[in-house]
């Protein structure tokens, strides 16, 4: 079993920045990442992207290159295509690569697993042809594939970003159907002061809207009662907007209602989590430096709280600095110096967040979907089923799962967990914190019994990684 001072799980901006800093400061660092190359989702495929792809994705995409180059130059080991499926309380990580399982031990762990899309349970959302806005972006970044005949629907900065990227590519979306209402704007204005600190990002947003206007992309605002139509595949999107019923024919619907931290590992480790009302999701509880309720385990980036790529980078540096301190390699004073600009930058990036969270808050329609909507996609459990289990006395997700199998499928609650919590909280009158979330257990991703069995004998040494 390999031993490192620090294992970083996730090579997005947070993981890359943290690993690079920790390694530069003399720690032995192992980075484990699921994708074929570092970059996370935001900078996915960046080094091998074509000029066309970079032009379409925009300047923020290419801005990730220094991080990727920094990681490649740093004195650490990166193992890509490594699927982490168990993390122990003693900081032992079990992962699989190319059909073989390995175990790696460290003194400290940094979890940078980023975000996933908030589930958007709507009628018809399980039809082929319905994907997330993020999925469309991944297809553009990786295979250079453009989605024709698509409607973008929902709320959040990514919705507009993907729309603009599609316009840039020459295949604009058929329409934008936005669920934001005037009430969202009013709620957001309460955070106007913070918003002013993030004026650059706001200006960027304004430019995106201008680009969409110039491209004459139809926009429907204050949309509600969204439903995807189609029998065996998507044929269109129906909704109500400004008092009128609409049905847009299309073969692809791209949904988005913001991002939420990916808490599979933090939950499996039984770390403390707190419901965050503004972001309407659970955050793992961390100190200002990213230290979790387990002193040797840190969390940085969107996996701790949604803040975007630049915030993730700064949070990664802050976490690395405190990891160095907690490992006894630097003093508190030295940590403060090392992380000074990262801390400042992080505060600046975070200032805009409450404004964005309020502006793009998910609408009641997807937090409390109608009874017939599928909530657990893997096991076909509807919102009505969940409400029925609440009436049977289920006060939390574990009993609800036992009664109806929601959360038992391959995705282990990634697509339904937050919805189940919302439905139960509403049905039982408990707050979200008391309602809780699914119990997450190993394996974090499915792994063959043969691979698991092979761990029973002494585990093999690590596979070929990227060593300087």
């Amino acid at each position: 079993m390999t031993r490192s001072d620090l294992i970083v799980i996730g090579a997005g901006p947070a993981g890359m920045a943290a690993a690079t800093l920790a390694a530069q400061q003399g720690m032995s660092v192992l980075v484990l990442d699921e994708n074929p190359a570092p970059g996370g989702q935001i900078y996915r495929n960046l080094p091998t992207s074509t000029a066309t792809q970079r032009a379409v994705m925009g300047p923020d995409y290419a801005a990730g290159l220094p991080l990727i180059d920094g990681l490649a130059a740093a004195p650490l080991t990166v193992i890509s295509s490594a699927v982490v499926w168990d993390v122990d309380q003693d900081c032992t990580v079990t992962y699989s690569k190319d059909g073989q399982a390995y175990r790696a031990k460290a003194d400290q762990l940094l979890l940078c697993t980023g975000a996933t899309e908030r589930p958007v349970p709507l009628p018809g959302w399980t039809l082929p042809g319905v994907m997330t806005a993020g999925a469309a972006q991944i297809l553009m970044k990786t295979s250079g594939l453009l989605c024709k005949d698509a409607v973008l629907a929902g709320s959040g900065p990514l919705l507009y970003l993907v729309a603009v990227q599609m316009v840039q590519s020459g295949t604009p979306p058929k329409a934008l159907v936005e669920t934001q209402t005037p009430a969202h704007y009013r709620a957001a204005l309460r955070h106007a002061v913070g918003a002013l600190r993030g004026w650059k990002t706001l200006a960027k947003g304004a430019r995106m809207l201008r680009d969409l206007r110039r491209a004459a992309v139809p926009r429907y605002t204050a949309a509600s009662d969204l439903a995807i139509t189609g029998d065996t595949a998507t044929s269109g999107l129906q909704f109500t907007a400004q008092g009128q019923a609409h049905h847009l024919e299309c073969t692809t619907v791209l949904l988005h209602q913001g991002l939420v931290p990916n808490t599979q590992i933090t939950r499996a480790l039984r770390l403390d989590h707190r419901w965050h009302a503004g972001q309407r999701c659970f955050h793992p509880s961390v100190s200002e430096w990213g230290q979790s309720s387990h002193p040797q385990i840190y969390i940085a980036g969107d996996g701790a709280a949604i803040g975007g790529a630049r915030a993730a980078e700064h949070a990664g540096q802050c976490a690395a600095a405190d990891i160095l301190r907690s490992a006894g390699r630097i003093t508190t004073a030295q940590r403060d110096v090392l992380a000074a600009s990262a801390k400042r930058n992080l505060a600046r990036e975070r200032a805009l967040r409450p404004f964005l969270d309020a502006l793009y808050a998910p609408p009641a329609g997807i937090l409390q979907p109608p009874d017939e909507v599928i909530v657990c996609r893997c096991e076909d459990v509807t919102a009505g089923d969940i409400r029925a289990y609440a009436r049977l006395g289920c006060k939390g997700p574990s009993q609800t799962k036992a009664f109806g199998r929601a959360g038992m499928g391959p995705c282990q609650g990634r697509s339904c967990g937050l919805t189940v919590t919302e439905l139960l909280a509403q049905a039982t009158g408990q707050n979200h914190q008391d309602t809780g979330y699914f119990r997450i257990r190993a394996p974090l991703k499915p792994v063959t019994l043969g691979e698991v069995a092979a761990l029973h004998s002494p585990a093999p040494s690590q596979p070929e990684g990227q060593d300087p």
């Binding site: 168990d86 032992t92 079990t94 049977l392 006395g393 939390g396 009993q399 282990q412 190993a442 029973h456």
Partner: protein
């Protein structure tokens, strides 16, 4: 008096007992800790299992067989009342042995029990070839199996849900997220207090709280010599049919996944799975069924059995406080039919009650 019977614990044991009492026309309220409880009822293997039980105590073998025999009509009732299919299958089951020696050692134990029961104990020894005819997917390392035609399995989570529905339908009052912290005998009846300081008075109280009996038992004059014993289980993705009958370590559940278990460890109140134990389960499962090497594990879990010193149930009336009962076992699924059936006669002190002296707490007094 809120109810005649207050049952502490809303798991499979508490619900089965409640169902039986409600059928007898008694008023019943159930107190359940709720979602975060250790809940052996959610973590078990789902077997309705006869063989290997009571090898050193024929009364337990008889008690188990009686429950298995009553299971079909019990399951039918719950299915009718709740509308849920429980998928009870009682076509027999195996304990697979990987060596001739262990197969032979167990065969001798079963024969010993059979003798003590006057020849009435069903089992067969199957060699590798005989087993392969029945179960084509067993691997070459399998030496053979002990087969019992009375073994079977059920969907334990559907049973839990079905019983919950049935109990409510029959008028049982169920309080969830009400963890009982205190039970006080009074001059007539018992006061039950929960973590929110809700207090209720009942005529009789049945302690069916799993590991909770460790703290509540002494309040009612019970020794409650139980301890947690951890077991870990694996479930795979849904697969086409790979096995015809369950065995005690591997069964294909009705939803299609293969369930693999179960380890045994004395680690206190620790319900965390670990890779080393899970890897051991995987090795053994692949030895038994080599095709499982390509099957993907979706989830593993650990749950805590409620273990008495000899592994047998405890059925005890409180001597100090008449009207208090203590029920505990680690085979709550197998014994559900007995708990919903004849045990009600014991709780209501009726003339036809079963003789449960073999399961009293005093058997542990030396």
């Amino acid at each position: 008096m809120e109810a005649e019977f207050a049952i502490i614990g809303g798991g499979i044991v508490g619900l089965s007992l409640a169902y039986g009492l409600l059928k007898r026309g008694k008023s019943v309220c159930i107190w359940d800790e709720g979602d975060s409880a250790f809940r052996a009822s959610r973590g078990n293997f789902g077997l309705v299992w006869v063989q290997s039980k009571g090898l050193h105590q024929p009364a337990y073998a008889q008690w188990t067989r009686a429950s298995a025999r009553a299971y079909r009509s019990f399951a039918d009732e719950i299915e009718t009342v709740s509308g849920l299919p429980l998928n009870l299958q009682q076509d027999g089951g195996y304990i697979i042995h990987m060596s001739e020696d262990s197969l032979d050692a167990d065969r001798k134990l079963y024969e010993g029990l059979r003798n003590r029961l006057g020849g009435d104990y069903p089992f067969e020894v199957m060699g590798h070839n005989a087993l392969k005819t029945e179960e084509p997917n067993i691997g070459p390392k399998v030496a053979g199996a002990l087969y019992c035609r009375e073994d079977g399995h059920v969907n334990p989570l559907r049973l839990l849900r079905g019983l919950t529905i049935a109990v409510r339908q029959l008028g049982g009052m169920v309080r969830t997220r009400h963890r009982v912290t205190d039970v006080q005998p009074q001059s007539a009846g018992f006061t039950i207090t929960d973590q929110n300081n809700t207090t209720v008075v009942a005529e009789k109280v049945v302690l069916a709280a799993g590991l909770g009996a460790m703290t509540l038992g002494p309040q009612l004059g019970f020794t409650a010599p139980i301890r947690p014993q951890q077991g870990q289980i694996i479930i795979t993705e849904k697969l086409p049919k790979l096995m015809n009958r369950p065995n005690v370590e591997v069964r294909q559940v009705d939803e299609g996944g293969i369930q693999i278990g179960a380890s045994s460890a004395e680690v206190g109140l620790n319900d965390r799975e670990d890779v080393a134990t899970v890897a051991g389960l995987a090795v053994h499962a692949v030895d038994m069924f080599p095709k499982l090497a390509r099957a993907r594990m979706l989830r593993s879990w650990a749950a805590l059995r409620i273990m008495s010193p000899d592994g047998l149930p405890i059925y005890q009336r409180s001597v100090q406080h008449p009207g208090a009962f203590f029920v505990t076992c680690h085979s709550g699924i197998t014994l559900a039919a007995a708990h919903a059936g004849v045990l009600g006669d014991w709780l209501t002190d009726s003339a036809e009650q079963p003789d449960l002296t073999a399961f009293g707490e005093d058997r542990f007094d030396v």
